[in-house]
Symmetry: C2
């Protein structure tokens, strides 16, 4: 299907928006009138620019407060419409969006609305324009799609059809059966389809609409269900995104447009209209790669955690540290972002690395060079929205390129000391890329999103959401601050799974490691909330172990100090605990701020 | 009255919050439990620290989901409470907040609630603690203050009282008569009073409460009306601020605490409990002072606008430019913020400059030195929250210090060329200081706030609000971006009033000035929206004049290019137009971005 995007969904000048939409592969645009008014380009210039970029102008919008008004007012509206149809002729746009009236002058009279829309359509037809009439969710008298359609049907005018908008339909809390009426509209009378998703917020619908819309799959609406109904009518117009969002207004248009188009690709796949390569869900974490300019502190920390340096890369200054199934690469070679110790790449075990990369590429993920050097194994890799490199790995599987083959052994196999594997990886996202990241990890990698939670940091509110595979062997927690100034969440971490966190914490301490100190007040509160066996709480207090319970089981965890942007967590999950200790995160964050304040770090 | 603030209202570590509250002059604090849990200080340390700072601990909060639950659950709750009462003993806090239950286990049984709260109060009394029971607006069965009071009254326990919270009461859309029940509660049974304001948002009350509360006078609630009812009961506890706000969570605790205490001072004045010096409303703009490192471009621009350089400061490199009643100071001396041309100070004509300064000081405005140099006139001045210096002036009024006396004439009196006075000044506010600035200008200067409007900039959404005196001779427009990254609103401007904007624009152009170019599309849209006399629209288009109408009259205006952060506007208000051309702001902002893009500025 053809895809389109409203210029209001993107940030910047009109020309910048058009460029971004074209680069992201959209077929067309909706020209939002205010973008045109503010542009120094003439309508003819805009038409030519779109043509040069291979973009059609699928809609000019919006025209407001037209119908069901007293005759004198309607005469003024027709005068206004005449000017706009002339503008559309110059622009080369053949469809105009008319929103249901919110004017206090409008009367509740469907026959009058149909009659006046019909006269508007007469005028439109003379100018070669079609009118798409849409019910705003907060329209004064017309606020549902079926009401708007009844008026269009009554008018019976060839130049008048309806426009369906997923926000206006789904924000009214529509039940699935409420959508069945869509199937009764002839497809050729659906002149346009606008798509937006939104988080499920209980707030005034106008505010919700103007500030919180997002791309399909980023919110809580069943946009795909609605699209299925529309496609059942025979509608063959574009899928067009109309998203008003305070964040997108400020974000670079380029990445936003890519994100937008990815959401439509996933949506088309969901409704069976875009044959994408199937998702190849990762089955485990092959490795986590840290970059640093100084390997000493990391080596000391990994050593204290029981890791052994087992191998080194044949051609690059990269060391492999192992313990159980947990593998950490420490890269000290030249690279971008080398100034601070951080997580740069994740290896994901993949049943079919090449197919996983093909899907990622089809979903607009930047593909990284397969071989960094001629002698390297040809690995499939893409960049996540936050810049983290994702390698699709086939560790030790004959016949497939193996990243391990690039390494030569330098030490003995690691002694098992309690850490089994990487439990989860926590990545911080750039401020306006949180929803994009979640959609990426779900759409590209086929992971499932868990609930989003708010976490109070002493200096701001964080939002966190995890994506996982079915058996929990891949868990990635994405975190973002409440605002772009928020410096509190620059830390990333690697959580290591153990069956005995107490023993692991003791071994770490005996090996010279230092755990994050946890305030005594926290343990007094634990004592108030839970009953513990004799001595249990004292052990936690002594070691700095945090404790949480959910409906399934118990979670115990503790943290190392931070090096650069990275720290490690030791975690023990019992009885199917599913979370990440979010209720303890405020205490952890405050303790980390405290350490930073003390060390000036 | 005593004033208090909940630690959750401020950002940072607990010790930082206590310091900020003490420095701002609060008498006490509410300790929010999570702040204590996350603190490395013991309860005794916190008690001592508060004592050293002169702060009482007025409340420990919150205790949740206590009452109206099955007996086994209540036994666990009492166990938890016992731990917390011991903590309060160590902390030296004698009142605990108990919020009405939101637990799914809670039953709708007032007798059970009263009986269990009474048993809780028994336990509390043994520990020397009083229990203040509060209805959460989203409580499962108890959500109104009168319902909570009926339960407290039924319990009839000396250690059990109620806590009133303005957010929970006013967020339910209470009518004035709904508040009358407050007067029936004996004052000594109101154990605590928590205050917060909030913007009037139609959204889920829990989200509203957790993210959007603000200080009294910054939102839309009649907090003062509620406080009057409470005071009528004989309540003599503190006025305490409990404000959950995403922005305050990130803002420096120091300024937030000052802002908070100022809001309580204004509130106490409103209810007749704080004898502040009366407001002295300014009666005009004496001058606007620009600072710059290079006077040439500004001088050229002022010259083109018809200003004459009439005088210079006797001791500093400051030139006075005049035209009609409009006076602009151009300061090229050493100062902070000298790197970019900007508006640094505003002179306000004041009926009583010394009294105006006394009120500002009483409302915690930083007072600036009266004399900059021994020979200068002793001028009263304070700093606004954004750093702009406000001078209270008595221009040419015998017996009062006159700023003009510091200047010696250097040129002839200005020839009248159409500009009459400064119409308004537009200041941009730091991101999280918008509400603070509006409260400051209203509380300190006695100006009135006009409606807040949203304005779409190509790179983000701006919020703008004007404050004015009664006759409109002082108008200050405050603007802020939607997020701290927003670079779109760094510009300030000075709007100059004329009775003939067309003539003024022509003169400016003939004098070599360049007006901001306005896109042709804008005029096509004007033609669609309004009917004009022959040639009128062409004149606007030719000169770059923008046009707006409101219910009262017509507004015509145009803009100069920007120098540093400053530009000028020429405005003509006819027939009592009250606004600032906000509907034209998107076009102006896009044009300014366009000019910047072209010039690389």
């Amino acid at each position: 299907m053809r895809t389109s995007i409203a210029t209001v969904s993107l940030s910047g000048s009109l020309t910048g928006k058009l460029d971004a939409a074209a680069r992201a592969g959209f077929d067309g645009v909706e020209i939002f009138e205010n973008d045109l008014l503010a542009s120094p380009l003439t309508p003819e210039d805009i038409r030519d620019r779109c043509a040069d970029l291979g973009l059609t102008i699928d809609l000019f919008q919006p025209m407001r407060d037209i119908e069901a008004v007293p005759e004198a007012e309607f005469a003024r509206n027709l005068r206004r419409a005449r000017h706009k149809f002339e503008l559309m002729r110059r622009l080369g746009a053949d469809t105009v969006l008319v929103c249901s009236s919110v004017s206090p002058q409008a009367v509740d009279d469907d026959a009058l609305a149909a009659e006046q829309l019909s006269r508007l359509a007469d005028l439109a037809r003379e100018s070669g324009v079609k009118v798409a009439y849409e019910a705003l969710a907060w329209g004064r008298h017309v606020s549902t799609y079926d009401h708007a359609w009844r008026i269009v049907e009554a008018a019976g005018h060839p130049a008048l059809g309806t426009c369906l908008d997923s926000f206006h339909i789904l924000s009214r809390g529509s039940e699935p059966k409420d959508l069945e009426g869509i199937g009764a509209i002839p497809g050729e009378k659906i002149f346009f389809l606008q798509l937006a998703d939104a988080p499920l917020l209980a707030m005034d619908v106008l505010q919700w609409s103007r500030h919180y819309r997002c791309f399909p799959g980023q919110g809580g609406f069943d946009v795909a269900g609605l699209v299925r109904h529309v496609l059942s009518t025979g509608y063959d117009g574009p899928l067009s995104l109309e998203v008003f969002n305070d964040v997108f207004r400020q974000a670079d248009a380029g990445p936003t447009a890519v994100d937008a188009r990815r959401s439509l690709l996933v949506l088309q796949e969901t409704v069976g209209r875009a044959p994408l390569p199937d998702p190849v869900v990762p089955t485990g974490v092959a490795f986590a790669e840290l970059v640093t300019s100084d390997a000493e502190p990391l080596s000391a920390l990994l050593g204290s955690l029981g890791f052994t340096r087992t191998a080194r890369h044949r051609g690059k200054p990269v060391a492999l540290w192992e313990q159980g199934e947990a593998r950490i690469l420490v890269n000290t070679g030249p690279a971008v972002r080398r100034d601070v110790t951080q997580l740069a790449a994740i290896g994901l075990e993949s049943p079919d690395p090449a197919a996983a990369a093909r899907r990622a590429e089809a979903l607009l993920a930047p593909v990284l060079p397969r071989r960094r050097a001629p002698e390297d194994a040809p690995l499939d890799a893409v960049a996540a929205p936050d810049g983290t490199e994702l390698f699709f790995c086939a560790t030790g599987r004959p016949g497939l390129p193996d990243w391990r083959a690039d390494f030569e052994d330098t030490g003995p196999a690691p002694a098992p000391t309690g850490i089994r594997r990487i439990d989860h990886l926590a990545l911080t996202q750039p401020w306006h890329h949180f929803d994009e990241a979640a959609l990426f990890h779900r759409g590209v990698l086929g992971l499932h999103g868990q609930e989003s939670v708010d976490v109070a940091d002493p200096y701001g509110l964080l939002r966190s959401r995890a994506v996982t595979n079915a058996d929990g062997s891949v868990r990635i927690a994405l975190t973002v601050g409440a605002a772009p100034t928020d410096q509190s969440v620059q830390a990333q971490h690697i959580a290591l799974a153990t069956d005995d966190v107490i023993a692991a914490a003791r071994r770490f301490r005996e090996a010279g490691g230092r755990l994050l100190p946890v305030p005594a007040n926290y343990y007094d509160d634990l004592a108030a909330r839970f009953e513990f066996a004799d001595g249990e709480l004292e052990t936690y207090r002594d070691l700095g172990i945090l404790y949480d319970r959910d409906a399934h089981g118990v979670f115990r965890h503790c943290y190392t100090r931070t090096i650069g942007r990275v720290f490690f967590e030791l975690v023990q999950r019992d009885d199917g605990y599913r979370g990440y200790g979010a209720s303890n995160a405020p205490v952890r964050l405050a303790a980390q701020h405290g350490v930073r304040a003390l060390t000036g770090g």
